[in-house]
Symmetry: C2
Subunit: 499 residues, 2 copies
């Protein structure tokens, strides 16, 4: 009975973390403004107790005893997987000295404030010393947690287990070799697609009603989830039966909330469909950020930005916004939501240019961590790269190196998971299309149950049971590859831009 | 530095409990229906960890060390008060055997389910064995926690520190001796006041808007609090800067939400105005249920059901509900919200009959705990008492002994705090009126800052620093007495019913 005793203890830790997740959700949705200072202390207490409980001698003994008895369980069993993930979490938690954890948390928290101000003031030099500190602390962290691998790989592993720069490099090279000429071809083709349709005034309450309708249509279970409002869209969950998404309602930018909801819904489906027996165990969540992002991108782009989807739902959207859309034909709407144009800001980028933004960050992070690039020279390097990849130069650092929060919280190694998500989304959609020959007409008819079930069976239900690499192989029959994704981009945007 | 170390530890425990409070609030307001089972487990984990941390040897040592060093602090200082409350909490937590705590929690949880079904089915015999079990467990609890006092006093002490039946008896005798003839006099006077005005259809959204307006008028700080919707109204807080109230919007009963909001607002003001330096310390909450209830009753009844209040706000209410109220004069409205009539259900009772409902429960609880009354005979005893005090007999146990949840969760000793609240509300209001000669005209002008400040200075700010008895003496210059309350009832209802 050593595994059940371990799982009981891990469930307590899990429950503490889920309570913290609710405190975070509440802070971003309903908490009155002045509640934030005590809330930060409550979150700190929960995080501290969770960490203390995990690294306690008692939990370490429970884990060791369960591992010693693990020969009872067949190789590949869920029990072995639980022990593998528990060991991984334990090692990550115990290998890093407490002083370093504290320094990272405190520095990241202060750096994020500094970054916010620096971005507002377009003052990169104010942020630079904090970026330097964080890089240094993260180098120490990497050395502590995975001393025998390159720094970047150690950091990446926190977000994408088992992934390495050596595996990413050829993949990103291919994306770059395909992306740069595709953008250029679209630019030189001269076809102008306007986004004016999307920048009209769209009443937020009507947006909210329409998004709730779309979520229901796609199968989002409102008895196990919610849709709320927050400044930054996110998805969080407190159990498999309580998964919540948020978005913001921009009155003059329809795609923000609409595709934001579909994106977060993709994340939500993953957490909603993990096998119930994994609840509160080490397997009870999505396996990596990349695989998670594949789910959000699949619903946002491959479903939500498809012509089939809007053949079904455009008349509904027109009814929701008659004065804005009744005179606009479906084709014009479809093109406007798929408009390609080089831009400065990653989160506003289209499907074609998006990965070039990621590759820029990926290359810079490695250069910064490996001391091939100094913090002082980083803004110029950023601008040079953006010009090389997209042909444009940010007018200020606010539209350049200061735009993203990730580095300010020490999230080095995080960005690649966005592109991994894009690539994997296409590969999964291709496999699903193969198994479900009517998939495109199903979408056109508003039938999503087949796709959702396919994703549940091949991805969602497994939680963290298989490592990302094994999961991809099992779900699609091949290793991760850019083939499906490049075909998707070429076909879709070739048609739109008549290349 | 032994006190700071203790306070750090107690703040962790406090933060765990506040996180639990947020989980509870969310469960009652926004949680999707199917989230409840994992939520219960998360709450159980938080409660267990909080209890374990409190009774741990380390916390006991910290407390003992801080007490040993307490001679540094003057008698009556806030530090001494913190140690007194911490010792009280520690003793209550450690004196009760863990097996008994578990038995009580589990039995109460199951008994509440049984009670809910028994009430729905009007089936007291189904609930009786559970009531018996709970009485037995509570007798054991009393013997463990305060072995040298009567059972009832030990239970009462959990809700009202230092209060005893010996002190309550004369107080309740006076209330009974005054209340029974007052009800009879009102009945025999023959003046009919109708509640038809209040049972018209009132749009819930309009009720909500009006209640939010009233809360703002009274000074409820929406940057430090919220108003939400739940099945049962309540007030909770996660810090002094995050105090939330809820109510339900009954479409055919205006007073429900309206006075429910004012009631919960009174509770909220207490928690909002505790001295900031007490945040997360043992002093960081209202001192007892009775004193808390005095705050809710004061705003609900002495302010909210006063003629002065409606001289100010009735035209606003008429504007919010023109078709329902524009033809109804202020006097008729005022009388309808103060209508006196014997009724079966405590929570719907008017100010005059309310305490007789409490006294009935108070007398029965003591008889049950002392084995002078059997669980089998309890329904008949209930009905007999109600007939004696109010001249009516419940048609079924659903309108009798099965109506309240308190006994089903083991809350014996809880009911008296409602009447203590009524009595103390009047005594505090009398003192405030003495210090603020313009209080009645202030209310009539919608100026509540003076009253709120008086309550903050004399009651709220102190948190748990003084025991209830000392607080009352300090705030009003005399011990708790029914004088002010009986005068208030006689004056108000004498005028309404022209006695």
């Amino acid at each position: 009975m050593s595994l059940p005793a371990l799982l009981d203890r891990l469930a307590d830790i899990h429950n503490l973390d889920q309570a913290g997740a609710l405190l975070n959700w509440d802070q971003r949705t309903y908490m009155p403004p002045r509640g934030s200072e005590p809330r930060a202390k409550q979150l700190a207490t929960l995080a501290k107790l969770s960490h203390d409980l995990l690294v306690s001698q008692q939990t370490q003994d429970l884990l060791a005893a369960a591992e010693a008895a693990a020969t009872h369980f067949p190789s590949g069993s869920k029990e072995r997987a639980m022990l593998r993930v528990a060991r991984r979490n334990m090692d990550k938690a115990t290998k890093v000295p407490t002083a370093l954890v504290v320094a990272l948390t405190e520095t990241a928290s202060r750096a994020e404030d500094v970054w916010q101000q620096a971005r507002a003031d377009n003052n990169y030099p104010a942020f630079a010393p904090w970026l330097d500190k964080l890089l240094d602390l993260k180098r120490q962290y990497a050395a502590a947690v995975m001393p025998n691998v390159p720094i970047f790989d150690a950091l990446l592993d926190d977000f994408e287990e088992g992934m390495t720069a050596a595996e990413l490099n050829p993949l990103f090279d291919t994306l770059k070799a395909h992306g740069i000429p595709l953008v250029a071809a679209i630019q030189s083709r001269g076809k102008k697609i306007s986004s004016d349709i999307l920048t009209q005034h769209f009443d937020p309450a009507a947006q909210q009603a329409f998004c709730a309708f779309i979520l229901k249509e796609c199968g989002f279970p409102f008895d196990r989830g919610r849709l709320d409002t927050s400044v930054h869209p996110f998805c969080t969950n407190f159990s498999q039966n309580d998964v919540r998404i948020t978005t913001r309602w921009e009155p003059n930018w329809l795609p923000g909330a609409l595709f934001g909801c579909l994106h977060e819904m993709g994340h939500a489906f993953y957490e909603l469909n993990i096998a119930p027996e994994y609840e509160a165990t080490p397997l009870a969540s999505g396996v990596s950020l990349g695989v998670h992002e594949s789910q959000s991108r699949l619903w946002e782009n491959l479903v939500g930005r498809s012509r089939e989807f809007w053949i079904r739902y455009y008349t509904h959207l027109q009814k929701a916004f008659p004065s804005q859309l009744s005179a606009i034909p479906l084709d014009a709407f479809y093109e406007s939501i798929n408009r390609v144009a080089p831009s400065f800001i990653r989160v506003e980028a289209d499907e074609v240019t998006y990965n070039l933004h990621i590759i820029l960050r990926y290359e810079m992070e490695q250069a910064l961590l490996n001391r091939q690039l100094s913090v002082t020279d980083a803004p110029a390097a950023w601008n040079e790269k953006l010009h090389k990849y997209l042909g444009i130069t940010p007018p200020t650092d606010r539209e350049g190196i200061l735009q993203d929060v990730h580095w300010a919280f020490g999230g080095f190694g995080y960005f690649p998971t966005y592109s991994l998500g894009n690539v994997l989304a296409a590969q999964l959609f291709q496999s699903a299309s193969h198994d479900l020959p009517t998939l495109r007409t199903d979408i056109q008819s508003g039938h999503f149950a087949g796709l959702l079930d396919w994703l549940r069976i091949h991805v969602h239900q497994h939680g963290k049971r298989y490592q990302p690499r094994a999961l991809v192989l099992q779900a699609t029959g091949k290793p991760l590859s850019t083939d499906a994704y490049l075909n998707y981009l070429t076909d879709k945007f070739g048609a739109i831009y008549r290349l």
